[in-house]
């Protein structure tokens, strides 16, 4: 079977810079220019103060596992099971979804420290999480 390319994000007029940053291997969030609230997912206004003005700030790439799933039943031809998808709470506040790299089907501990690494694809570079050294999976 020919390898199916993973679905890739279609940038829009709001999210364009977010995905461009990822192609530079930067995880970027919007920070409100007025009240400094960091928001994610990408949106035109600050939900705290309604300002349209913002700047892109780069995430440290460090966070903690907030939740995860190990996908065991294959539902998409591009994603071979098992694989682990992590929701990590980043140091800046937002929670980000990405796959966990490491042993296939690994179950990370909730609260485990993770950091972002990057994988290039034909359409878009995407972050993956790796456990910071010393962290265990089960």
């Amino acid at each position: 079977m020919a390898e199916v390319v993973r679905p890739w994000p279609l940038a829009d007029r709001d999210t364009g810079p977010f995905w461009e940053a990822q192609n530079r291997h930067e995880l970027a969030f919007q920070r409100c220019a007025k009240c400094a609230h960091v928001r994610y997912p990408v949106g035109p206004t600050c939900p705290e103060c309604l300002s349209f003005d913002f700047e892109w700030v780069q995430s440290s790439g460090r966070g903690e596992v907030y939740s995860y799933t190990v996908v065991q039943h294959q539902t998409h031809p591009a994603f071979s099971v098992p694989y682990t998808v992590v929701l990590a709470e980043m140091e800046e506040g937002p929670r980000v979804i990405a796959q966990l790299r490491g042993p296939e089907g690994a179950r990370p501990e909730i609260g485990a420290k993770v950091r972002v690494e990057w994988e290039d694809g034909p359409h878009q570079a995407l972050p993956v999480f790796v456990l910071d050294s010393g962290q265990r999976t089960s």
Partner: protein
């Protein structure tokens, strides 16, 4: 001003639930809408409103109109966000009949989800925009996977194992096992079966996930005043002995020889499903009105379609909490006033979290309702008495509405004696909706 008891459901209809209906969703919708109108003592020319759910439909309200020979609708509307919309269609119908914008409103759901298009199916590939751009490229592509992220956190925060999820599966399948209309009729499962079923997306196993179903359900909403007039007309017609003839004509025109279920099973009249369950048989006359004590929609903070992962807590359902507050306010009730609940069971963890959101248990404590037998048919809060999505069939919450009406009429297969009030909830993880229905006012 309150909408409490200003509207009623006066007719229900339901096709068989199967893996392959063998006919179009439009045709099934028409079958169950005609059955529901007949149940209400109404005809298509009486209908001036249609409210439908928005997701995954093959047809519009104008296709129903054309098929029913209707020339005008005063009120038509679509409620968004998948299974969260089911009770929302009734809520919209309530607003219409209570305000006088419509007189008779049809609500329905019709699906060939098993044989044609699956709701949870992932896209084959390519670029994805909108909210999905943040999730699909990472392999988080189906509702089960989106919900698993909430579920893992719920289990973690309250120290539950996946046996907490199994409690829901076992209970709901038990109720389906005694419902001949259910896809899982006579197929109960044990906790061992649950724990041995294969992983889908941890912590969800196969038995934590809804069935996929072909079928259709409909409910007719009118004002309380009109409901009383219809009931009065029904009584008068019965006295005059005309009712059999009228219904005979309807069945002749609408159904004869058309339903595989009725055709294949040797003459169970289609109306028996709404009137008396499969055991009901006989002529019970026009369906009794069931009053709508409350009808509400609700959302929560930082809402996305199934991926509201930025919320402060993922161990609760904000949209269900919001809907609960509004329902109890409208109905002037508390959870203690609710006699039974039909809770949207697409995935077992969201049943537990919904029971907590609607105030029947504290945070993380819903498993106790199962362990203490309170959600059994003889408990103080019988739950998903028809067997729900996990056992009867997945009609995106519409089967729950129809079952609530049957229970309050006293005509359900797994009838709970003397039940007076029923909570019905719609899909969670998305903007949702709910109803409190009452047997009488």
């Amino acid at each position: 001003m309150s909408i409490r008891n200003r509207a009623a459901i006066v007719g229900i209809g339901q096709t068989e639930f199967s893996k392959d209906s063998g006919r179009s969703t439009l045709r099934m919708a028409l079958e169950c809408i005609l059955e529901a109108l007949d149940d209400a003592g109404l005809r298509p020319k009486d209908v001036d409103g249609i409210v439908k759910m928005r997701a995954n439909d093959d047809f519009f309200e104008i296709d129903l109109m054309r098929s029913l020979g209707m020339e005008n609708l005063r009120y038509f509307n679509e409620i968004p966000h998948g299974g969260g919309a089911a009770c929302g269609t009734v809520a919209s119908a309530v607003a219409a009949v209570a305000s006088g914008m419509a007189d008779v409103v049809v609500t329905f759901r019709s699906l060939n989800e098993r044989s044609e298009r699956r709701f949870g199916e992932s896209s084959a590939g390519g670029g994805v925009g909108g909210w999905m751009q943040y999730y699909l490229p990472h392999g988080l592509v189906t509702p089960a996977q989106w919900v698993a992220i909430f579920a893992q956190r719920y289990l973690h925060e309250f120290g539950h194992t996946t046996e907490a999820l199994g409690l829901v599966s076992v209970l709901v399948r038990k109720h389906a096992a005694t419902n001949p209309h259910a896809m899982m009729y006579e197929k109960p499962v044990t906790m061992e079966d649950h724990q041995n079923s294969r992983w889908i997306a941890e912590p969800l196993r196969l038995l934590d996930c809804t069935l996929d179903t072909d079928g259709a359900c409909a409910a007719i909403v009118v004002s309380a005043e009109k409901a009383k007039r219809l009931e009065e007309e029904g009584r008068r017609e019965k006295e005059e002995g005309r009712q059999e003839q009228v219904r005979g004509e309807e069945i002749e025109r609408g159904y004869r020889g058309q339903s595989p279920m009725t055709g294949g099973s040797g003459g169970v009249p289609p109306t028996s499903l709404s009137r008396g369950g499969w055991e009901g048989g006989g002529d019970r006359g026009r369906g009794k009105a069931v009053y709508i004590g409350a009808a509400a929609q609700g959302t929560g903070s930082r809402t996305e379609m199934m991926t509201s992962y930025q919320r402060k807590s993922l161990a609760k359902l904000e949209e269900a909490e919001a809907t609960a507050r509004e329902l109890y306010r409208q109905a002037e009730m508390t959870p203690a006033d609710i006699g039974m609940a039909q809770v949207y069971d697409h995935f077992t963890p969201f049943v537990l979290m919904a029971l907590e959101a609607y105030g029947f248990a504290g945070p993380g404590e819903a498993p106790r309702l199962f362990r203490e037998g309170r959600v059994e048919l003889d408990g103080d809060l019988p739950l998903n008495t028809h067997g729900g999505h996990l056992g009867e069939g997945y009609l995106h919450g519409f089967g729950h509405i129809v079952e609530a009406v049957r229970q309050l009429r006293g005509t359900a297969v797994n009838q709970v004696p003397g039940v007076k009030t029923c909570l019905v909830t719609s899909g969670t993880g998305v903007p949702t909706s709910g109803l409190i229905l009452a047997a009488e006012v």
